[in-house]
Structures are given as structure tokens and as C-alpha cells.
């Protein structure tokens, strides 16, 4: 059972840097309905906001969701509460990388074939999103 939690450093960092306030969310789920990768998320976007509202830092840090989000901005475009979820996800990624350390992805993980064929754009953006 979860009881009240104190202020979470990770969540406060996320709020400050993304400029987004999770409390604006009323859990309509439109983000999750619109998200093209919703099916692959262990926490749907609206759940991420709910977990942020409840201060469930550990669950968020362990979730796959921020790493599966591709920053396509569909959620932000359709949110009736004007919350930029793409920024929330980015904020979470960076807060997790900064507060908990570790890079999520590096060149070593790529096959020579991928290195050959992938557009430069994909490599640079992948490294940017997953490393700090």
C-alpha cells in the first residue's frame, strides 16, 4: 500500500525543467488513446501523470515508458489540459539519467549493419535521448 510520500527530488526536477505541472491532468486518457506506441508502454501516458501526481518516484524510474516514447508530440497536440507530455517524458528521462546515473544506450550496442544503414539523424537523436 502506498501512503503519502514526501517531495521527490526526481519529480521536482522533472517539473522544474519541463515547465509542466502534472496536477493539471484530470486523467481523461486522451494522450494514451492517441499515443502510437501506447500498446508497448508498461505505464500509459495518463498513468505516468497520475504516478507523478501521487509522487511514485520508484515506479516511474523503473518504467519502460519514458524510454519507449519517441517524442512524436501527438499526446501534447491533443491534450485538453494543455500539458506537454513530450516535455514531461523528456524531463523524466533526464531526471532519471541525472539523478540515477547511467546511460541507456551507446554505440557499442549497434551492429555494424545498423551503423552502415541508419541515417545519421537516427544515431545522433538516439544518443541525445538516451545518454547524458
Amino acid at each position: 500500500m502506498t501512503t503519502e510520500t514526501g517531495k521527490s527530488r526526481l519529480i521536482e526536477d522533472m517539473k522544474m525543467h519541463s515547465g509542466q505541472d502534472p496536477n493539471g491532468c484530470y486523467q481523461c486518457g486522451k494522450c494514451s488513446a492517441a499515443c502510437p506506441v501506447s500498446a508497448a508502454l508498461d505505464l500509459k501516458p495518463h498513468q505516468v501523470l497520475r504516478y507523478l501526481q501521487m509522487g511514485l518516484e520508484n515506479e516511474l524510474a523503473e518504467s519502460k515508458t519514458p524510454w519507449v516514447c519517441a517524442s512524436c508530440f501527438t499526446c501534447a497536440a491533443r491534450c485538453p489540459r494543455d500539458i506537454d507530455l513530450a516535455r514531461v517524458m523528456e524531463g523524466l528521462r533526464l531526471s532519471i539519467l541525472r539523478n540515477r546515473g547511467g546511460n541507456k544506450f551507446g554505440p557499442a550496442e549497434l551492429t555494424p549493419e545498423q551503423l552502415e544503414k541508419l541515417p545519421q539523424q537516427a544515431l545522433v537523436s538516439g544518443f541525445r535521448k538516451y545518454n547524458k
Binding site: 502510437p36 519507449v68 501527438t74 497536440a77 541508419l118 541515417p119 539523424q121 537516427a122
Partner: protein
């Protein structure tokens, strides 16, 4: 019509044909694209984290290098980053000061930042384009695939209606082809997930391709090298009607009667500039 032109890394590598065909078509249309000298990477992704100013150095340097002249790019990702960096420079004085002080440049968000499609629509006009077509793409069923980066966030990109865009369809129509619309034309292809979460990207791409097929498309056009990579490499198309993926500029060049071989056909042997 004269523009400063920012190619970006990918256009000198895997997406060389997008640059070649655009430059050829532009020349034929009397549009002059003057490549910025000593340009560097656009930054690839726009930093959504407000204190990530370091990621803005590169796009702002590019914006400042345009010296207030209209700046055109072709790659959807480059255009996205440049346009959003420009908007931040206009909106956030603090960020502007930090970035420009560091770069030792003067830049306050001036100048038009355009995607080449916008040049065709707003400056040349699709009616004019239609007149310039030498080999109309008659009988070809072409679907546009917009993806994310050109459309969203619409308040900043101001590219087209983010849910019902028409710019690519209008171009396709001007080139004489038959427009086919698929409901997934504005959905994400999975972007760099093809690197980290292949399964997820496979799903998103499959949906996009299947929906285009269902709509009867033979050709899918895009303005993004990464979209094209994903559309061509991530889905399982065994036993299904083939769909060719082209850059918008390739069908443009073809309709203009210019050589338009795709990067895929000629390999990727070009030198990649460091950036």
C-alpha cells in the same frame, strides 16, 4: 527566388538523393539555394528540457549564419529543430542571451525558417508548379506520409493543419499523380525507436504501411530520412502489395523530367561530414 540552404548531415549521406533531386528541381524552377558555408549538425533533436541550452548552440549558430535571409532545409528533423530553436530565441530572452553570448553572435529570432515544401506552396505556388511539370505522374497512386516533425507542435511549426494537413497532397496533385489519403499519414513511424526498440517501431510502421495499402497507395512520399529508413526497413512486407517509399523531392524531380534515382539504388558511399 533566392534562399540560404541548410542541408544537414543525413542529406550528405544516406539521404543524398533528397538533396540531389531538390537541387535539380529547384534549379529548373528558378529557385536558388545557396548552401551555408561551414555548416554544422542541426542538433538532431530539439531539447525539450528547458535547461539543455547546449543542444541549442548548433541550431542557433545555423540560424545566425543565415543573416536574416530566408533559410531553407529539406530534412524534416533539421527543419523542426531550426524552427523550434528560432521560436525559443524569439520567446525566451534569458535563453537567447545565454546562447548568443556563448556563441558570440547576434541573433534575436529574425528571418524566415522554411521547409522546401513551404517554399513551393507559399512562395512559388502549386499552380505555378503545375505549369512547370514536364512529365505528369499520371496514373500513379501516391500517398503522403507527414510523420511528426513537420506538423507538431503546430503552434510553433505553423506548417499546416496538424490533423488534416494538405500541403503534400496539393503537391502530389500538382505533379499530376492521383492522391491517396491514409488515416495514418500523421502518425509517428517510431523514429529512433528503430535503434532501441525495434519491435515497437515495427508495429508503428506496419500500421502506417498497411493503412496506405488499404487506401490503395503504390507510392508513399516523405520528407524525413528517418521515416523513410523505418518505412523501408522495419516492417514485414512478405506477400503484401509492395509500396515504394520516396522523398517528396524525388517525385518532384521526376515530374519535372529530371533524373531522380533514389539513394537506395546508388548506395551510401559518400563522405559524411563531421558535425
Amino acid at each position: 527566388m533566392r534562399y540560404r540552404y541548410f542541408p544537414g548531415c543525413t542529406l550528405k549521406g544516406q539521404a543524398k538523393s533528397m538533396e540531389d533531386t531538390t537541387l535539380a528541381a529547384a534549379k529548373a524552377m528558378g529557385i536558388e539555394l545557396e548552401e551555408l558555408s561551414e555548416w554544422q549538425c542541426c542538433g538532431a533533436v530539439y531539447p525539450l528540457y528547458e535547461d539543455e541550452l547546449i543542444s541549442l548552440l548548433s541550431p542557433v549558430r545555423t540560424l545566425a549564419a543565415a543573416e536574416g535571409e530566408p533559410l531553407v532545409s529539406l530534412c524534416a528533423a533539421c527543419h523542426h529543430v531550426l524552427k523550434r530553436a528560432q521560436e525559443l530565441m524569439q520567446r525566451n530572452e534569458d535563453a537567447r542571451k545565454k546562447v548568443t553570448d556563448h556563441l558570440e553572435v547576434e541573433y534575436a529570432g529574425e528571418g524566415r525558417v522554411l521547409h522546401f515544401l513551404e517554399v513551393l506552396r507559399d512562395d512559388l505556388g502549386f499552380d505555378k508548379l503545375k505549369e512547370m511539370v514536364k512529365k505528369p505522374l499520371e496514373g500513379k497512386k501516391v500517398a503522403a506520409y507527414y510523420g511528426c516533425l513537420l506538423l507538431r507542435p503546430s503552434k510553433v511549426m505553423q506548417f499546416d493543419d496538424p490533423e488534416n494537413p494538405t500541403i503534400m497532397e496539393d503537391m502530389i496533385r500538382a505533379l499530376g499523380a492521383e492522391v491517396v489519403k491514409s488515416p495514418y499519414r500523421t502518425e509517428c513511424c517510431g523514429a529512433y525507436l528503430s535503434v532501441t526498440e525495434e519491435g515497437v517501431a515495427a508495429d508503428t510502421v506496419q500500421r502506417i504501411l498497411d493503412s496506405a495499402r488499404r487506401a490503395g497507395a503504390e507510392i508513399l512520399v516523405t520528407a524525413c530520412p528517418l521515416c523513410r529508413y523505418n518505412l523501408e526497413n522495419c516492417a514485414d512486407n512478405e506477400g503484401k502489395t509492395p509500396i515504394k517509399v520516396y522523398y517528396f523531392s524525388e517525385i518532384l524531380a521526376e515530374a519535372m523530367g529530371l533524373p531522380s534515382e533514389s539513394a537506395q539504388d546508388r548506395g551510401t558511399k559518400e563522405e559524411v561530414p563531421q558535425g
